[in-house]
């Protein structure tokens, strides 16, 4: 493979909550343009790892670097501005805002209109509004919820809400999109459609980090997989390598008692 540029480096990250070690020296690198799967049984620390990356938690030890720049300790909105966007395991849209407004909030991440500009309706306000709105409508179309832009987010179907969350995250113009179990609660047909969407996102030039339970989805779409168990990385490699790794099989299926 040609020279790969690292986008996100998780460097020996340990995260403790009191006596609980949620992440134990987790270490992996995400390269530009790939889809990396982060998998593991329940409670393995996948979402915690996400939270550490996006600034929700501060790692106890170790470093997280994004585009070569230290992430930990930065403000969360600054991290988003650097180009890291995420969705949530439990959907966290702004329920009383319309679908369009939800995406606009994401698009606003790079806008600079503040109170004086908005108060006086200066040209900058109009320009940013126009650009953001066009971009937001385009993204709603991209994720496949055209025609629902004026509906309140809470009135959208579950699947559309998941898609809207992806559109909102994409609106921040990320280099890296972190999807936290985007297929949770989906039926097989919806999963197939989601798989296509994730590939489309990658093809548009966004690197994707995917937390997922559904092995088939992960195998089908990811370039590489990192497996966590009890806060440790137990395997890393291509889907095939990971699938055949006895440690992974053990983690998912359990180990037979030693005879």
């Amino acid at each position: 493979m040609s020279e790969r540029k690292p986008l996100l480096e998780v460097d020996n990250v340990t995260l403790r909550f009191g006596g609980v070690v949620a992440l134990n020296q987790v270490d992996f690198t995400l390269y530009e343009g790939e889809i990396l799967g982060l998998i593991g049984p329940n409670g393995a620390g996948k979402t915690t790892c996400f939270n550490a990356m996006t600034g929700v938690y501060l790692p106890t030890e170790g470093q997280i670097r994004f585009k070569g720049e230290q992430v930990s300790g930065k403000k969360r909105n600054k991290i988003t501005k650097m180009g890291m966007a995420r969705t949530f395991q439990n959907i966290r849209l702004f329920p009383e805002m319309t679908a369009l407004e939800n995406v606009l909030v994401g698009a606003d991440a790079h806008n600079t209109t503040s109170v004086p500009t908005a108060l006086l309706r200066l040209p900058k306000h109009w320009r940013e509004e126009r650009q953001s709105k066009a971009r937001a409508l385009e993204l709603l179309n991209f994720v496949g919820i055209t025609g629902r832009s004026d509906d309140l987010a809470r009135n959208l179907s579950y699947g559309d809400q998941r898609r809207l969350e992806i559109a909102r995250a994409l609106a921040t113009n990320p280099a890296l999109l972190c999807l936290d179990e985007p297929a949770a609660g989906f039926n097989p047909a919806e999963k197939v459609a989601l798989l296509e969407l994730i590939k489309k996102i990658r093809d548009s030039g966004v690197t994707v980090l995917l937390i997922e339970h559904d092995m088939r989805l992960v195998m089908g779409v990811t370039d590489r997989i990192v497996v966590l168990e009890f806060g440790r990385k137990i395997a890393e490699g291509t889907p095939e390598e990971v699938r055949d790794n006895p440690k992974v099989v053990a983690a998912y299926l359990g180990v037979p008692d030693a005879a």
């Binding site: 407004e101 606009l104 909030v105 409508l137 055209t146």
Partner: protein, 400 residues
Amino acid sequence: MTTETVKKQRWKLNLRDRFQDLPLPARITAMAVFVVLLYLLPTKAFYENLGFPIPMGSGYLPFYTTGSDMAGVLFQCGYYILLALGLNVVLGYAGLLDLGFFGFFAVGAYTVALLTSPESKLITEYNWFESPWPWLVTVPIAIALAMLSGVLLGWPTLRLRGDYLAIVTLGFAEIIRIVAKNQDWILNGDRGIPSVGHPPGTYSNGEAIFELDFAPYYWLVLTVIIVVIFLIRNLANSRVGRAWVAIREDEDAAELMGVPTFKFKLWAFAIGAAIGGLSGSLWAGQANFVNSATFSLENSILVLAAVLLGGAGSIGGAILGGFLVIYLPEWLRSVGDVFGWPTQVTVGGIHIDVSPTSLRFVIFGALLIVVMIYRPQGLWPNRRRAAELKDRQKEVAPVE
């Protein structure tokens, strides 16, 4: 390819929908007529005819406050509407529960009083300046100081959320009131500051416009309200307004979507405070006399009630709420006469006062409870309507 346009048939029961569907010139005309009527409201010949016949009592139910000066009540409604508009930014948009909002009103009122009164201690004792300043000059200062106090209060406290913020803001308003009441070196305690300045202007015969007659004050505050509505609407329909609502809905998610939450919460606080201070300075311009007794906790609660009654997050709601919390008790004060309601009943030799005048706050309270049970979203809730029809059409246009 022939595209068959499917029109959704909707029953337009909602008044707002019907109004929105009118052509733009019609809407503008309707609004203009309404505004003109508002300006006419304190005219006796006009308001005396507001009412409708009823088949009981005196046969006519007036809408105006027969027991108190209509223009005075309207002016009071006016500065409460301003307060409600200010709190609506803080509570309705950004979702920050501020229980001490009247504190900013106090800052505005005291600023005007100290600078415009010839008996201000800044003049009589400290010789900061020779003669009192004109009212008009002090209003921007009052707004700026209220804003500053909002920022100073918000800077440490906006890191708190929900109940904690409520307690801190409650404390702020109480601190202002108690300091004003007890210290003597500038605000003059309960004795207060007399001879506060009035807004400028004289009639052609040389008489001052802003004296004892309430009507000019009402016109002034009405004009200010209209300007404030435009400015708030500008903010609400912008990145700032979206950020506020996003913070209210889910602060963590907003921050993770790149919203600088602290900055916008502070802005909400500062803008709310500025409007509160403006309201205070308008009130002081009329009141003539400012002391600590005006700034009791009930006022903060009343403003809060106004916002919730009208519907948090809605400009129309804040206006309706601010109007009702002042107008209803005043109206109830005299409306009993219309029905021939007895002023007192005697039960076992004990006289019980049952006049609506005495019971007006009981009735008002009961009404509040009823509204909150049957319409918890408020009387005029904010319903986030379709942005612009144009966008929608563009969006659903056939792709191929």
